[in-house]
Symmetry: C2
Subunit: 128 residues, 2 copies
DNA sequence: GTAATCCTTGACGTCGGCGTCAGGGCAACA
DNA sequence: TGTTGCCCTGACGCCGACGTCAAGGATTAC
């Protein structure tokens, strides 16, 4: 299949596929006319990349998974390098989620502090 | 005080201050020599901006807080526009945190699936 | 006096993941 | 034969928040 069909079947664009190729992530064979040619295996690789991208992995992080698939494994995450990325990502996510929750809590407090009608009973009462 | 001192006192750089000025966020008076001149109030504004940036607010989102301070309020978040940003940010954070937790869970499952020695008792047993 | 340190403006560079032309080739169908 | 529709490469654009360099003027320290 050619680039347009692959892009359509993976729900992406030809530009994206050329970009992946330029990054060495998804090289393509070429037909006699110079057109890129892909097969079902490429579609699988591409879907793996896209799934991880949706998870927030950057392109480089998807590389071990793609190479794992190309090495013949039925799943891209059944290789040590992929697992290492998973573990690193888990740690990153835990850290990030923690930070975001801390920020969320801080904003929640500030919002409540300003929003509340400041109950008279908590003002100390002396100014009454 | 001049730009270098303000930057140092706020733990940022002169480039950042010029950038904020170019965005209309932190305008500066000028001395006879053309040098930017700042006072303690500017330091307060700058610290407000930096705090919000640390929280993950983008520059435009800090504007209401800065304007609130400049309007004379002792706190940048005691104005309706600031509260609106707070509320929007809370919703964004909740949404983002939820997505990240879902991704974290998914990765956790995949990691466990591949990592586990696949207990024999869960394989169905027929192949034994 | 002069060297070191500050300040000025302007403008290009960075990062990631592409979008969007521009200019041209190849193929298939009427 | 022309038109439509795919494909090609190359290259600039985008976003946000600055970093960094260049070329020069002002100030300050000695």
């Amino acid at each position: 299949m050619r680039i347009g069909e692959l892009a359509a079947r993976a729900g992406t664009t030809t530009r994206t596929l050329r970009y992946y190729e330029s990054r060495g992530l998804l090289p393509a064979r070429r037909g006699g006319n110079g057109y890129r040619t892909y097969d079902e295996a490429d579609l699988k690789l591409l879907r793996q990349i896209r799934t991880l991208q949706d998870f927030g992995f950057d392109l480089e992080e998807t590389r071990p998974f793609v190479e794992c698939l190309r090495a013949g494994h039925p799943e891209g995450d059944s290789c040590p390098a992929s697992l290492a990325v998973y573990r690193r990502k888990l740690a990153e996510l835990d850290s990030l989620i923690g930070e975001l929750q801390a920020v969320r809590a801080e904003i929640g407090v500030r919002l409540a502090t300003v929003e509340e009608p400041t109950p008279l009973c908590e003002l100390g009462g002396s100014e009454l």
